[in-house]
């Protein structure tokens, strides 16, 4: 076949583009329809989270923290709250550990479900979006009953959690968790064997191990490249030591592998939720959910590095506290900030329409990148 003559072109995607999940700009160099170079421009959603910390007290900063990643606010809350607890040597009660775990896992499921819907939308399939949102809606209803909010929870506090989880909440979670198994089965049947889906995701956006390490990629994107790395197993926090769950990995390294791992992670999270419910149902009379720490006059001192395995990867909150009422410096290490950097590496040589699929598969959320 004769080689088709192509033109080099530079096109602009975003900042306001539905597939960028926020505001992000990509300057793409094309040769015909093949991607040659992608330059990402970020910073449209910068809100100065780190500067805000320096001008507020520890308790004033607490509600802002959820906004760093609004799809999985519990993880940000936990990273911050845990950092202060490390500095102040606060031991939290067993029950609050379980409540934190169950909320975080439900949050992980909600985040993955939203990702799944939006990712399928990026690929051009609109019906899975509605199925995932039905399930996500149930989780948000549970959170609304428990915390009073649907997205920005402000539920954790220094020394525990703010409200106790009651019997109705637990039964609601149990009901959701039992039904979710079947809902996920339906979703998988809808997507997994679809030839269009397979042809648009298989052998696409290969992320090699070396590249993943060089760019400090964490979470599902790293595990899809065949590296078994999960903070919940490596350095168990909260109660993950007592709980049985697997860390699924895949050797395929492509977009489809990332999709399959997220589905598997949904199942594992569901398992963790069920084990937590069993414990909480047998300990209904235990009302010890918070350790009194006088949060208004907290004056911690030192440096704390607090880590959590969020739904997108390793999240760190590094707190420099100098013994006054205000934090001296707070640094957020957010996983999406690192995932954004590999778009150029893994989308070279693919078509422009594949760029959207690759970008979607990384599960990048812009407020987390820009903070």
């Amino acid at each position: 076949m004769e080689k088709i003559l192509t033109d080099r072109m530079r096109i602009n995607i975003g900042p306001q583009h539905p597939s960028t999940h926020g505001v992000m700009r990509m300057i793409v160099d094309l040769d015909g329809e093949t991607v040659e170079n992608v330059e990402t421009v970020i910073g449209y959603l910068h809100r100065g989270m780190e500067k805000m910390a320096e001008t507020s007290t520890y308790i004033q900063y607490l509600p802002i923290v959820d906004r760093i990643d609004y799809l999985s606010g519990f993880f940000c809350s936990y990273a911050y709250v845990n950092g202060i607890e490390l500095l102040m040597d606060i031991e939290i009660s067993e029950k609050s550990k379980y409540i934190r775990t169950i909320t975080m896992e439900l949050n992980r499921m909600a985040s993955h479900l939203l990702w799944l819907g939006c990712f399928m939308m990026d690929l051009g399939a609109s019906s899975p979006f509605f199925y995932t949102f039905i399930e996500r809606e149930k989780i948000l209803d549970i959170f609304e009953n428990l915390t009073g909010n649907r997205m920005m929870y402000n539920y954790y506090t220094f020394g525990g959690v703010k409200r106790d989880i009651d019997k109705e909440n637990l039964y609601a979670i149990k009901k959701f968790s039992d039904e979710f198994v079947f809902a996920l089965k339906d979703l998988e049947e809808l997507i997994n064997y679809n030839p269009i889906f397979i042809s648009r995701t298989k052998n696409l956006g290969i992320l090699e191990k070396e590249c993943a390490y060089a760019y400090s990629i964490t979470g599902v994107n790293l595990r899809a490249s065949g590296i078994k790395k999960d903070l919940r197993k490596d350095k168990p926090y909260l109660i993950y030591e007592n709980i049985e769950f697997n860390v699924p990995i895949s050797e395929n390294k492509d977009v489809q592998a990332r999709y399959i791992l997220r589905i598997k992670e949904l199942k594992e999270s569901n398992k963790i939720v069920q084990q937590c419910i069993d414990w909480l149902l047998t300990n209904l009379n235990n009302k010890n959910i918070i350790t009194d720490v006088k949060p208004l006059t907290l004056k911690p001192e030192g440096i704390a590095i607090s880590e959590v395995e969020s739904s997108r990867g390793l999240m760190q909150c590094i707190i420099y506290a100098d013994g006054t009422l205000n934090p001296y410096r707070i640094k957020w290490r957010t996983p999406s900030f690192y995932n954004v950097q590999i778009i150029n590496e893994i989308s070279k040589g693919y078509l422009l329409s594949d760029l959207i699929a690759i970008f979607g598969s990384l599960d990048i959320i812009m407020p987390e990148v820009d903070r």
């Binding site: 490390l86 500095l87 590249c211 390490y213 400090s216 030192g302 440096i303 590095i305 903070r371």
Partner: protein, 199 residues
Amino acid sequence: MIKIREVDLFENLKRKFDIRIENCPRMFLDKGNELNSVQKDMKCIVKREYSAFDEHLTDDTELKCDTELNHIKPDIYLLRVKKEDIRQILRYLKNSEEYFFERLDCMVCCDRKKDLEIMYLLQSDKYNVKCGIRVEIDKKENQIATVSDIFSNANLEEREIYDLFGIKFINHPDLKRIFMPEDFVGHPLRKDFIIQRLN
């Protein structure tokens, strides 16, 4: 009964470069806790007690200000190095089989009023340990060598630090503002940055 082996984890590094160990996790063999495989591999049984480290730290007490923060939680290895050596040390820690700190978790910059400080947080997945490398940067000089060719993710990190703190990274491929608009004046996370009300 097992004797305490006194092995210095950073012995080789010390021989090559001028470093100061600020924090080193304490682990004992004779407390009844068996060392796990990770610790055995790392041979990280600490040479001295904490008090000895404190003595070491009092060498420059007159430098101490309200932001001299030295105790870190959880316990990780904390080294203070000279900024001229930073590239060599990071390359050594990344490539040598002895340490294998092959991931740069993040770079934390902090304005300590008298100077600026960058902490490179390294993670060794092989041994599952973390190490913080702290470098002081003089405010007048205000520059340090880039490490973006050693760790690729340092590229955006350094741009972030340049944007928010104004530290220049020598030989950085694309040093420009990342969060703030290009015509912005000042570096917002510096302590002398004045927050203005925009009406």
